[in-house]
């Protein structure tokens, strides 16, 4: 395959194309997640879910169209179209600037964080594994945390600008919750990086290097960190649920006691932006979890991608190998999206005081203890 035309383009144009391509994949997946949520909730409740909508001009085509129809994909398109063309009311009592700004602000961190997340790898001509990533920066994970932490402004501003009780309460709860769980989340990943950064090594926070350290040969080298550090993985997962405002931690929305939470006053396209942003956060969060604890694009523990490429002799075909790695990775991420939804339709919501108690009195001590434990263990392993 001749890719020289592409590589002769100026760098900024290539970066723009890559960025647009990633968003062009991420955004539809995030939108499709809303349909997946409806279908999974339906299946768990013994219903088929939305399966009726079909455009009349496609209705006659056999096999493929009925399958799409049953999966509700046309319903998704219809909903999207509705959101675009629906009247978008702005209530009279709101602060207009921040009311309009909030949904836009929610999209920015959601779409920015993906730029430092690698989603695949291939072997270059020199036989080295190269990540498929928009910006392979050294501070990878820290950048994800930093940008993702800006997501709280969308919720605060939406709640404040709405200038009414329930959105305000939702915003206050959400911001308190997001700040509380950020601590446990950050502390829970430190053991992983203590383990990755062996003495004498480069010293890195890059997510690509974490995956690399899970794809080495041998019993310890090929082990995914979810087996090596189950407590870290657990704390990270719980904090991830809280950070993405998913049940059982969806204090920000809380239909039962807050009407709709921070987005009570929103409708039409602005509302849908909030939701696409929430799903983007879920996707990026799941991607980070998969990279840190589930071996990234390695198909199975102890079977890294390089082994698969040897079996299929794909080592000299970067496009196919990259596609395979990306598919493996996206598959794992989608499983996690499913897991998020599965949990949502299983568990009731925690009370607000329980959320705070779990965050500060259970999760934070647990993650600190976990960090100290691994620090001591790693120090002892180095000594002997």
């Amino acid at each position: 395959m001749d890719l020289s035309i592409y590589f002769n383009l100026p760098l900024w144009l290539r970066l723009a194309i890559q960025g647009a391509a990633v968003i062009a994949v991420l955004f539809p997946i995030a939108a499709a997640c809303s349909m997946a949520e409806r279908k999974i909730s339906a299946w768990i409740q013994g219903r088929p879910g939305p399966n009726r909508t079909v455009p009349p001009f496609l209705a006659g085509i056999p096999i493929i169209v009925p399958i799409l129809q049953n999966l509700g994909l046309f319903q998704l398109a219809a909903d999207g179209g509705k959101f675009v063309f629906k009247e978008d009311p702005i209530p009279g009592h709101v602060n207009k600037l921040y009311f309009v700004l909030a949904p836009i602000l929610s999209m920015i961190p959601a779409l920015t964080t993906i730029s430092v997340v690698p989603f695949g790898a291939y072997f270059d001509k020199a036989g080295e594994l190269v990540p498929i990533i928009l910006a392979n920066v050294d501070v990878g994970l820290l950048a994800v945390f930093a940008v993702a932490s800006l997501g709280v402004y969308a919720i605060i501003l939406a709640g404040w600008a709405s200038n009414s009780k329930y959105p305000f309460l939702g915003a206050v709860r959400a911001s308190a919750q997001l700040i509380s769980y950020e601590l446990s989340m950050t502390l829970s990943v430190l053991p992983v990086f203590l383990w990755v950064n062996v003495p004498g090594g480069m010293g890195t926070l890059s997510l690509f290097d974490v995956v690399q350290s899970q794809s080495q040969p041998g019993l310890w080298g090929g082990m995914w960190y979810v087996f090596l550090m189950p407590v870290s993985a657990f704390v990270f997962l719980v904090a991830l649920f809280a950070e993405t405002n998913r049940l059982p931690f969806d204090m920000a929305e809380c239909e039962a006691d807050l009407v709709g939470g921070f987005h009570t006053e929103y409708g039409a396209f602005k509302w849908s932006l909030f939701f696409v942003a929430e799903y983007c956060h879920m996707i990026v969060g799941s991607a980070v979890f998969v990279l840190l604890f589930l071996g990234g694009w390695n198909p199975l523990p102890w079977i890294p991608l390089s082994m698969v490429s040897d079996w299929l002799s794909l080592g000299d075909n970067p496009v196919l190998l990259g596609a395979l790695a990306t598919v493996l990775f996206i598959g794992k991420v989608l499983f996690f999206i499913f897991f998020f939804m599965w949990v949502r339709w299983t568990l009731p919501r925690f009370r607000y005081d329980q959320v705070m108690k779990i965050g500060w009195q259970k999760l934070l001590p647990l993650s600190i203890g976990n960090l100290v434990f691994y620090a001591v263990v790693i120090a002892l392993l180095e000594r002997f």
Partner: protein
């Protein structure tokens, strides 16, 4: 490209910093502060100090300004309007700014940082995590410890101020 970005970001940082002080609305102030911090993070990125940029965004932009907004909201300011600055506050901030300016100026004129580190090594120290943390744990160990101690005292102060020691007051 880089000098242009530097001037743009500097103008952004300074302009929004000024707006933080002058704007009538507390929420606007907080948002300008946020933009100012993000601009500062951008300046750090221009210096290849990715770690500092990420930490600045994570701690200040992600948590501190969020807490500011949180407090503004909890204080229940009507529409975020804040009272005008008192003369004392204006005087105090002018004096503080002057002291800061003198400090920065004296650092630029008489600081020893230019002498000890070559220009080429400056980005590497900030960009590579390992050398950065090595510096923190060797050369700058004392300042780090002092700052940590200061934060500990501040934290204790907050606990003392916010917690009501009911049983203890009765026993006195």
């Amino acid at each position: 490209m880089a000098p242009l970005l530097f001037y743009l970001l500097s103008a952004l940082v300074l302009g929004t910093a000024l707006l933080v002080v002058t704007s009538k609305n507390a929420v606007n102030s907080a948002m300008f502060f946020l933009i100012s911090l993000l601009g500062t993070a951008g300046l750090f990125v221009l210096l290849d100090a990715f770690l500092l940029a990420a930490v600045l965004v994570l701690v200040y932009a992600g948590a501190v300004v969020a807490l500011f907004l949180f407090i503004i909201m909890l204080l229940g300011m009507k529409g975020g309007e804040r009272p005008p600055l008192s003369h004392f506050a204006v005087l105090a901030s002018v004096v503080a700014a002057a002291i800061l300016g003198v400090g920065v100026l004296s650092f630029v004129k008489h600081g020893q940082i230019t002498a000890s580190i070559a220009d080429a090594a400056v980005p590497a120290t900030g960009a590579v995590l390992k050398s950065y943390s090595a510096q923190l744990f060797t050369t700058y160990l004392l300042p780090v410890q002092v700052v940590g101690f200061l934060l500990l005292i501040a934290m204790l102060g907050v606990i003392v101020l916010s917690k009501r020691f009911e049983g203890m007051e009765e026993s006195k």
